[in-house]
Symmetry: C2
Subunit: 468 residues, 2 copies
């Protein structure tokens, strides 16, 4: 696996300089992503592509590269794999479709490929997929342009569908969540989710693993690798409804057809199952927060209605609001403007328009040993100079988000910050800080419950409320 994801050099077989050539898009991705390893192109016609000279055959290559990408039609794949094997290239990435998912002839080609691979000890990604990306080295091998404006970080992706996987990258970018490694598995003819999970599990750059699965072939081994990974694993398992399983063209089944069994197995292995594609990205970033070691939260908002609907959701998720200690209440009262609010938990900040006081109160709440974390729901706007402010009233016109991040780090407890705001305000807020900023109050509470269950599980405690 190391030779795939951390390939020191890569050959693109089937690349040409013709616009529309898919290998050319791969070459472009490597350049855009700043890949510093060796790059070799192969095309029977020779010539060059984007300035790279092209070798006429695999055997002409000056060395046995770590990884070869075969961007050629399916029928040509087994033959080129054979050449690679003879050259000593034993790791392949195969994007082409037209294998077993496409009938009898495709199955024949697959069998031939498998037989070549076994002869030379070749392991391969795909076929029928977007293969791999390593954001840290710039190894970016999909044959469609992949935008580079996503921060590097610790979230890795194992996706059965390449399209879903790349969309997930877009979502990570929207969340300003850092991305590490990506694999689109396709037909999983050789390497499958178990292999990738094992690798990501021991990869030091990977902090959170996100999976999109349509079928699970080796269920027991998957669960073992998940347990061994000892990292947060989020999984979206699709292809579960009768109508879908019937209409989906290829699936190896096994765990696939009994969704409840899968659900229980995932839970036992500590895999967090998500039911909405967007949650994969939203939740991935939650693990950058300090752990939420219990049920006891303070809920904070300057909007009474937000407190009401958020505490509904807190109740559904099993959170408790411990009463605030009298000295703390007194302290908070000193920060109220007109003193017309009776301070309790949930904490109505409607009377606190001073930005520094808002930070101070959240800090004091996180400091209490009877409070495990804070959930805060603000509305946000942009000032004329593009600063994010939590409120439209005089005194709130200061971006308190960086300070809130410091408070959280200092206290070692999570703040789940929700900004109910226009999308461009949310985007600006997320760009400015390295912790998650949530967009809707109910989803914020859901994310808090998810982190609580994970945090408690990793300490050997039983989760309070099973996620829905």
């Amino acid at each position: 696996m190391e030779r795939i994801f951390n390939a020191r050099d890569v050959a693109i077989i089937g690349v040409s300089d013709r616009p529309g050539n898919l290998g050319r898009d791969i070459l472009r991705n490597l350049m855009d992503w700043g890949y510093e390893g060796g790059v070799y192109g192969v095309n029977p016609k020779g010539g060059e592509a984007l300035g790279f000279p092209l070798y006429k055959s695999v055997s002409d290559l000056p060395k046995a590269v770590d990884l070869a990408v075969l961007i050629i039609p399916a029928p040509a794949v087994p033959g080129v794999a054979e050449e690679c094997g003879r050259k000593g290239i034993t790791r392949l990435a195969i994007p082409a479709g037209g294998f077993e998912e496409f009938g009898e002839e495709g199955r024949r080609i697959r069998d031939e490929l498998v037989s070549v691979a076994s002869k030379y000890g070749i392991r391969f990604v795909g076929p029928n997929c977007f293969t791999v990306i390593n954001a840290h080295t710039g190894l970016c091998l999909p044959f469609v342009p992949v935008s580079t404006d996503i921060p590097r970080g610790g979230v890795s992706i194992i996706a059965q569908s390449g399209g879903v996987g790349l969309s997930f990258l877009t979502m990570l970018r929207d969340e300003n969540a850092g991305f590490s490694k990506f694999v689109s598995m396709g037909n999983k003819t050789d390497l499958d989710e178990v292999d990738y999970l094992e690798y990501m599990g021991s990869d030091p750059q990977t902090e959170v693993i996100c999976m999109y699965l349509e079928d699970v072939g080796r269920g027991r081994e998957l669960l073992e690798k998940a347990r061994a990974a000892n990292k947060p694993i989020l999984a979206y398992k699709a292809n579960v409804e009768p109508l879908t399983t019937q209409s989906a063209r290829s699936h190896t089944a096994a765990l696939a057809n009994n969704d409840e069994v899968l659900d229980g197995a995932f839970r036992q292995a500590g895999i967090i199952r998500v039911r909405r594609l967007k949650q994969l990205a939203e939740y991935a970033k939650v693990f950058s927060l300090p752990p939420l070691s219990g049920n006891r939260v303070a809920l904070v908002s300057p909007t009474g209605g937000m407190l009401v609907l958020s505490s509904d959701q807190c109740a559904r998720r099993g959170f408790e609001f411990p009463p605030l200690s009298p000295p703390l209440v007194e302290d908070i009262n000193d920060h109220l403007r007109a003193g017309v609010v009776n301070v309790s938990n949930p904490v109505d900040l409607g009377d606190v328009h001073d930005a520094d006081s808002r930070v101070y109160i959240i800090n004091r709440l996180l400091e209490q040993d009877y409070i495990d974390g804070v959930i805060a729901v603000f509305t946000a706007k942009l000032t004329s100079d593009g600063e994010v402010t939590t409120g439209g009233i005089y005194g709130t016109r200061k971006n308190i988000l960086p300070e809130l991040g410091e408070v959280m780090r200092r206290r070692g407890k999570p703040l789940f910050l929700c900004l109910v705001s226009a999308s461009e305000v949310l985007a600006a807020a997320r760009r400015g800080v390295d912790y998650p900023v949530f967009a809707d109050p109910e989803g914020t509470v859901d994310a808090a419950a998810m982190l609580r269950d994970y945090s408690m599980r990793t300490r050997g405690q039983k989760p309070c409320v099973e996620g829905r």
Copy 2:
């Protein structure tokens, strides 16, 4: 009500030119929103505010205006209401807090206000709220700045919490959904959700009604008005969980405390209940689509994985995928690039990179009498000149959204278009068309199910699957 929401002239009582004066923010809102009715300011000290001359008392006003806004502290409200009554002003908007929600003294003030109101036949909005907005006349009375960059249209809002109500405006703006009227009800001392619902129900400019409720005082009448409205009504009812009802400070209960009873009652009255704040805005716009008169949909995407996970959600929501007629399959096949896809429903457009062909195929699908609507999931990007394209591959680089809108209108059937994309792409897409553009595949299917249930109910058919 007409004199409130369509007030031809309005007096702001308590306005001054001092920065921070809340009446001044109201005046500013009226100017920003282009209110063309008469505006009169009252302040005992006289002078002027933002160029408007100020009368020293209500009795000095040149006429009995349709509506007076009392932006003064609670204890002063009954006395000024008395002055209004004597002047013949019988419609008031009262933002101030400090009434029954704030203890014994507040209750006394409330009783006094109620007694004055009854003496003069005064009806009033509030207290403890942001009062009203009419987007069409520019009557914008909240005492915080309200952004004007939201399109005018048919969505009206009845909100118990002013903060939640204004946040909902932001969400409508994000959806590019047209806004008509807004009321923040506050304590509902006089006018309540039943009164507002009755008015919005018969208001010709209101096409969809969105409600945020924390308690429901006159349940039976509310349900009657809902039925009589004969318009889509979306309702978010908060304050339903034991923890919340306990911590919420004021609620008159009645229907409030038995959420299941409320659920059933809402359903019988045709009120669509939403469970996430964001769904209020997302769903409000769905009613601008043609009705979805049945269960039979075509699902379309160029991404196989999106087809799989979307058809899961379709199955959960009770949709069916009728097989396509042989002539249609043949026709679609003619538009495939390499002919390597077996066309069925769900329709894999992965091989169709030509933008016009994509529009053509969706048009042909909507045309079939055995298909009630189309759900399409694309990824989207912006070209360098800011056009929205559904795909990153050559040939897809054309904004097909306007044409899809025309197709939908021509066929009189809905297209539920989901663009899985970065938020700024989604924003650009929404600005460009007047139909809803959804952000995630599962939510798109949910919205389709919601419209189907509503469409079938209004034809006297039983909904297929009750919403979750």
